[in-house]
Symmetry: D2
Subunit: 253 residues, 4 copies
């Protein structure tokens, strides 16, 4: 039986999603062919001419996840989402409402409002939020397809700085929890998956690596490692003392 | 070009080593077939009858790494190593000198003494130690093929508790650094490899998982993820603030 | 020049505040006489008879900080605040709006609404929130006298689990930041103050200690240590290597 | 009953010790008068003229703890100790044997040898070591008055990087455990004392502060906070969930 990620009725075998940021051919190619991403997030704008249309470089079997980056209110985000659907023909929308220009912290409240509107309009809404249990519950009530909490501020590579808050979402919320922003190393992606996260989004940690395709492969492996470890049921941790191995014991049959 | 681990002139493609502990067929099978271990550590004793000889269950292409577990002094360890070579026909020896019965902390000083003796006798000596830079230098001078620092007390699954001390060994010592004891999760194995460790040894973290073969696979992936991330050259971490992604920037060609 | 904490025009020399929880004479006495708390939080109810009125046990020079615990919406919190002001004669109100019964996570959005109403009515509003920069800005706009972010879920003694999010509030918000919930050890109180927090609230970590008066004293010292360290300007941290001390250098005059 | 630190039959009320490093009048004055140090470590050399003799600036009731810094072998350390006793008239000796010039890591093995010699000669030997249980046991057998494990490499201000190894010493070793090197913040000093350490030595963290006397006071408070918290018996930590406070419960009498 396959271990599938289901978002808004669509299924994916990959649990690594390419986040938005500065794109390059190398990064997209690495994400698709080395990280095996099946979903790529990006901002779509009418002004792009067909000649440089980023969509031309995305393989057909990859799902474009348009985002609302640049939006600072629910209203702006809804408008951007409408445009994105028109341009992409896709119902998927990564909802980003970010008024703060320094830390790029999402506005949880406006995000809930935009989720309500867009879910009613048939969008598959994937909102980016600070990990807040009450907000996550409202997002689910509003029809969100996933909840995407940040691990640390965007682009910092700081890792699981909000770990305890994310664990609460994983334990309490029934839609997929996808970790967005801050994951800087494959080991941190693995750790998030071991906690029970459903998928990981990353961009900066790959884009700032010296060898992007190799780092993409490392992320794929890290996400898979963490997922399998979660499913395998990790053993106990012993706080004090040690546990003597028994080297003389024969094989148990 | 292949990324090989070289120990005493022998090369390996796998960087996951099965540590000693309570063995079961399931664990050995999982280590070999799912974690892709090419080295398995174990204690060998003359008293084992051929009927239950653990060696019968190890595939031919897997390297047996006999250990000196049970030894509390250099002298005992040397004697055990002699016996192990006789039984296994192998020059590899994992050197364990552990007088402490509660925390199973290795005796660094006796370990240096035994390394001197055994290296002169042609053994490929892989000593298990507390990560101590001065001791690691002495081990190299004495002819050790690797240095195997503990991450945390044996069997605890506590992870990289001695991280800063291990990083110093990785930065300063020229033989392979193999992390032994304490690694409890694939994410921790990945983190150790990202630091620049050459290989990981684990047993308890697999043996205490609910699904051993799946956890073995997770460890293989975690080790590979961390190794590739190390080779890919991870990006910078930003302590304060965030880094605005530039969603409107076109593709850079 | 004294180092004073100013809240709503009132000044305090102590930066340790007794949080709410299960009260005992011992705990209140310890907080006042050993932790030197000048503010004590509590829920006030009309049904308390004068005989058992908790207010009788609070020294006159200690500021009672009534809270709205038990409220699950802004409306309930406002009603409770009105009652508290009537009973205590104080304009101070610790605003708690907590719909979640398992993790006791505050409802940031409802808290903003209640802050708006109560600040207009002349209350000195001290809202308890999940550390969220956008929410903190709204609270300040709404007239909050302080922002009180949680360090970890109430009663857990888990410490600074939301450290990175709190640091952002300290760096960006101009009203006092008071750390509420989760601080389990005096060392953690000190660490929060070293980050630049203005005060610390605790209850469980004292109430669950074996020797409550002694732990109260430890908290007072920890808060003072952290405050002074913050004002003293801590030195740099060196990530790799060491810095040779110069034992032979004479005294610099 | 006073809480005293006893070293080699001498008692102290202070648990903060000034470590060696670059001295200034300000640092020594701050250590004595603000951190309330009763012990000051320093290297003594015959070549110091009486005019600039550092000893002239140490108050009479402060114990000089001469160290063997600069020694790279047991033999050198023993020679330096002899000279120090001659110059200071004191039996106290802080034993430092440090061959490594980059990380300044102590040589545990040579330190044991020097301890044996010096303890037999009547010195009160306080050896500086990497936290290693087997070494700590040998030091006690050799007559060490204390064991002084490093928290992190000297001068780094990195804090309790060897925390788990130090906890083992605290739990198993019967002479005072004094944390030496690496403590960078009063909160870290408090945390070490909460673990059960008997005293803290620091220098760089004070010397690199912007306001040295204030940081000295902060260290005194941090050490006292941690000590009292340890004696008070800290409460339990809850890993998942929260603990509802009971605001409506009356006073328990």
């Amino acid at each position: 039986m396959q271990d599938l990620l289901t978002i808004g009725g669509h299924t994916f075998t990959s649990r690594f999603i390419l986040g938005s940021g500065k794109y390059s051919y190398n990064l997209i190619d690495s994400a698709v062919n080395h990280a095996k991403a099946q979903i790529i997030t990006m901002a779509l704008r009418r002004t792009e001419s067909s000649a440089e249309n980023i969509l031309n470089f995305i393989p057909e079997d990859v799902t474009i996840l348009p985002n609302t980056s640049g939006s600072t209110t629910a209203e702006e985000a809804v408008r951007t989402a409408h445009l994105a659907r028109e341009l992409s023909g896709s119902d998927f929308i990564k909802l980003e409402v970010v008024p703060d220009k320094k830390y790029l912290m999402p506005d949880n409240d406006e995000t809930v409002k935009a989720t309500e509107t867009l879910a009613k309009e048939g969008f598959i809404v994937m909102p980016y939020v600070l990990p807040d249990l009450n907000i996550a519950r409202r997002l689910v009530d509003a029809g969100a397809a996933t909840v995407m909490p940040l691990a640390a501020p965007i682009g910092t590579n700081k890792g699981l700085a909000t770990k305890d808050l994310i664990q609460i979402l994983i334990d309490e919320i029934d839609v997929p929890i996808i970790i967005d922003a801050g994951i800087g190393r494959p080991s941190e992606a693995a750790a998030a998956m071991e906690m029970g996260a459903d998928a990981i989004m990353a961009n900066t940690s790959m884009a700032t690596a010296k060898n992007i395709p190799l780092m993409a492969e490392a992320f794929r492996l890290g996400v898979e490692a963490g997922r399998k470890a979660y499913l395998a049921g990790p053993g106990r941790i012993i706080e004090r003392g040690a546990v003597a191995s028994s080297p003389l014991t024969g094989l148990s049959k």
